[in-house]
Amino acid sequence: MIYLDYAATTPVDPRVLDVMLPYFSGTFGNPSSVHRYGQQAEAALDSARETVASVLNCRPDEVIFTSCGSESDNLALRGAALAARERRGARRILTARIEHHAVSRTAEQLEAYYGFQVEWLDVDAHGMVTPEAVEKAIDDGTAVVSVMYANNEIGTINPVAEIAAVCRQHGVPFHTDAVQAAGYLSVDVDALGVDMLSLGGHKFYGPKGVGALYVRKGTALVPSQTGGGQEFGLRAGTQNVPYIVGFAEALRLTAGEREQRAAHVRSLRDKVIGTVLEEIPNSRLTGHPGQRLPNHASFAIQGADGNLLLTLLDAAGFACSSGSACKTGNPEPSEVMTAIGLSREWGLGSLRVTLGSHSVPEHVEKFLEVLPALVAKTRALH
């Protein structure tokens, strides 16, 4: 099997696993405990927090550990919206249809159950949200703005620094979901100027089940999960020390190796994009041609059943994904495909190829060898 789905998840780096192992049975204490077991665990937790803060270029007490990127998105959006309503009477949420469901579904719930109004920002044909679109929609009644850093389905990188500046001008907190971006883009929150930023460990060779939310000092947030005072009162629950240690190590390694990793996958990605567009008739790139993640190639293939194509690819030994990825065989074009204006005929034929540290030219060559025939088979069965 050849794995070409690094945007879905990545294997844990052995160096990351090594630093995690001592914290399961050896240094197992509860960081909140007074005794030395607790002190050792707390030291590990603090050290991890400092590591993350140094990568994010922020203060350690601005880093909140969570259980995953989705939880970070939930805490940011729900927490900031509820706090803004409490303090400013603001009731509008600005976000986009291209957001991960962790954001868009949370926004919809805030509208359905909490009396907020969601305004869906325009995106262009590349799935990009422009600062102008935010400027047009933002006002005093805006509680929070959320625009993702890079899109998981189509790889487009949004101009988050410019959007953050617009929000700053209007005094509205800005959240960005950087879960997909963090593997390859700088997450310097100072340079980006964002107020909140979500991360998930398993997208950059860390473990699943751990994430983080950066919350700029002074950003008002109502906690989603209440209980003990962990994570500065913003996220109750005993910290998952081994996973947090692994998360921090994975992020540290990622920051240190970012350039090499990006260079490694970029040439492979360009080969995939070039060959697919050349050899598959009636195919097009989805997302921005230039402003896209260096490991991310995504396509729409007219008249092909994306789900069937994934099945054929898997049977042939290639693990890929699609925008309408659906294990229940109930395909609908994804909201992202619809948002960028693709018809059903194109939107159902989406294919995502994402590369990573174990990808080698031979993988890509083999993949590109079999793909045209499998697309033809899929189209013949349409």
Binding site: N307, T311, A316, N330, T378, L381
Partner: protein, 357 residues
């Protein structure tokens, strides 16, 4: 190592089929069809609820085989559900399971299995298969006669049987349950059901009312001699042989029960009569499928089954031109129902069948 796609449903039969093939050393792939359900009733379609899908997925994981779900909603709706509604609109009682087997399982799914590189496709049907000396394949009744499903597979042809495997057909059902337990398969102990999958466990009349309300128009209930006995609610709501629910006018002191004898779509009348009028000695079929690929040269003796649950009856079968045949029973048969299939057997071999006209 031959590659086999198993059409899985989450039920015990197809799960055991996959397990047996895997044990025999085949390269096994599980596939499941996602069929159409009425909007809002997706949880009730017997064949592909989220529950049964999760179950099939767990079986595949247990057996360590790849598993894929194939979307067949639109083709199922336009082929099978439409056939069902059209049949009732024409005043017959269609059997959509045969159409599903012919066009969905053994065409739509088989095409996809072959695209995956499969050499064979297997299902959990209780039937047997035998390669004859001339290289043709014979479809056989199941060893467990109480579970025999050759009736619904009588629509298959050589091109299908050449690719088919029926691993559970050689076992009694009780043995299949035991094998499932031996393999530790997490299959539900749900009861076998003969309801149509897309009826969501409801009566077919309710389904027709919701999905094709126009096809059922009230009309007269008459006897063979033309006496009007009452009004029916729409021919689609009645079945040949039905006795209850006719709401007939009292015509005389005698209270002999009346049965539905026929549905006359042209005049929109429901013909009823007494029990002694119910039996018929002869029927005609159209769209006959001869599994061997060749129609018999002339008349032959066969056992004939006129419904999935009916007992076989001896008859003389005379093939005619244009894919038709005439069946002459030794004894009169009750409840001969246009739209259902008449299926012919010689010994263990299912010879094929056609649609009763």
């Amino acid at each position: 190592m031959p590659k086999v796609v198993v059409a899985m449903s989450g039920g015990v039969d197809s799960s055991v089929a996959a397990a047996l093939l895997k044990q025999q050393g085949h390269d096994v792939i599980g596939m499941m069809l996602r069929l159409w359900s009425e909007p809002g009733k997706e949880d009730s379609n017997r064949c592909c609820t989220p529950d049964s899908m999760a179950l099939a997925r767990r079986v595949a994981a247990k057996l360590d085989i790849p598993f894929y779900v194939v979307d067949a909603k639109e083709v199922f709706r336009s082929t099978v559900v439409q056939y069902f509604l059209d049949g009732y609109a024409r005043g017959v009682t269609p059997n959509p399971c045969l159409v599903c087997n012919r066009h969905i399982r053994w065409e739509f799914l088989l095409d996809r299995a072959l695209a995956l590189g499969a050499d064979y496709m297997a299902t959990g049907h209780y039937v047997g298969l035998r390669e004859e000396p001339d290289g043709r394949f014979a479809l056989l009744r199941a060893v467990d006669r109480t579970k025999d499903q050759s009736y619904v597979l009588s629509v298959l042809r050589q091109e299908h049987l050449r690719r088919a495997l029926f691993p559970v057909g050689g076992y009694p059902k009780s043995e299949i349950r035991r094998i499932a337990a031996d393999f530790g398969l997490p299959v539900a102990r749900r009861a076998d059901s003969q309801d149509l999958c897309f009826l969501a466990g409801e009566d077919y009349r309710a389904f027709i009312r919701r999905n094709a309300p126009g096809i059922a128009r009230p009309g007269e209930i008459v006897t063979r001699d033309g006496t009007v006995l009452g009004e029916h609610q729409g021919l689609a709501y009645y079945t040949i042989g039905q006795r209850k629910g006719l709401a007939l006018r009292q015509i005389s002191a005698r209270s002999e029960p009346f049965y539905v004898l026929a549905k006359d779509a042209a005049s929109n009348t429901l013909v009823v009569g007494t029990a002694d009028e119910l039996g018929l000695r002869e029927l005609s079929v159209k769209d006959v499928n001869w599994i061997s690929g060749d129609a018999p040269d002339g008349p032959f003796r066969a056992e004939v089954k006129i419904r999935y649950t009916a007992r076989e009856a001896w008859a003389g079968v005379t093939p005619e031109n244009g894919g038709r045949a005439v069946v002459q029973f030794d004894e009169p048969q009750r409840d001969i129902t246009p739209g259902q299939a008449a299926v012919f057997y010689r010994g263990d071999v299912c010879l094929g069948g056609g649609t009763i006209v």
